[in-house]
Amino acid sequence: MDLYGKMAATQDVKGKGEGGDQNFDYMFKLLIIGNSSVGKTSFLFRYADDAFTSAFVSTVGIDFKVKTVYKNDKRIKLQIWDTAGQERYRTITTAYYRGAMGFILMYDITNEESFGAVQDWSTQIKTYSWDNAQVVLAGNKCDMEEERVVSVDSGRLLAEQLGFEFFETSAKDNINVKQTFERLVDLICDKMSESLDTDPAVTTGAPTAKLTDSAPPLQQPGCNC
């Protein structure tokens, strides 16, 4: 049995029959990673609470939020882990990579160093996560066009080389935030369906409907600002 299918099915069975907040069809564990101050926490705040503050508070260690989304009448509970970007927390943050089904790897389009570190973060994913984890590369702060030092093309090219999807985003102006999460969820659902098709045994206890039946079209990755 493919590990991906096993995880999805197991989590599905766990979620069933439980009341209140535990009532979901699937649970996806997602991580947001990237250099310090690229906007990971703001990105999550925008998505989960539709809020933004320009005050910078460096994340200590790790934090998380939960958000439930619906896809083809299925409730998908997203457990989104917000990791600290600073090196000193690396031991604790990498411990949470295990079992993650998706990553948002973020850099800041106004910070060359954060873009240069993408390759290293990608290696971290490969080292501490598992092969089927899906990754979306996000170039954040695209509202700050005047301070841009990383072009859209550079971001897109790197994403292609690494085999990741790509968006430019702005937590501040709420650009492509929801789309980034939705695309990551779609990628995970696609992968999950592939696993179920490959090995029907994993469908035991899992819903029969495919989550990919009416996947939305790809979003425009560029920043429309």
Binding site: V60, G61, I92
Partner: protein
Amino acid sequence: MSPRTGIFAKLTPPSAINPNDFTRLISNCISFASTRTQEYLVFKDPEGKLQPSPLALTQVTHRSVNLDFTDTFNCTAMTPEQRILLGADWVWAILEKPTKNPKIQIAVQVLHLPEREESRNKNVYQRMVEFCTSIGKDCYALFLFFGKRDDKENIYGVLSNNFAAAFGKCDKIDRALLENFFKGLATKPCLFCQQLSSVKLP
């Protein structure tokens, strides 16, 4: 750099301030915060209407320690989720210039009297020790007791960057184990302030 506002201004006259003496700055502030918290600990509303919750008491302390040195010192309150994950209520940090990366951190966990304590995961002590250990020797764990069974009106603290070694052979860390650090000591409020002063700061 000079302190301008905040409670520190009330503690020490400006002329007596050595900008590099963080130990004194922080200890003074913590001392002030402890005194303020102590007032709540011993306060009894004659009508029995005001009873500060453990969380409120915790917030009195960490919000009182608000040095006006945002580029060299900060205090980060943990979210409810982080309190569960990391075991800390807040984290103080002395920052490195110009990166503003923490140079020394103190993760603080408040322990209330058992009768006041809200239900808390038993592993919360262990979690904070593990969190500090994962960072390294420049991260200290401070367990802050808002009253002890035999002295309900004082605040005690035990601070170390080496709890993992101290508790190495123990199956679990609990309140009783932490209180052992105070055995043989005379009643001394704000003990942790004195311990803090022994921390070598930059």
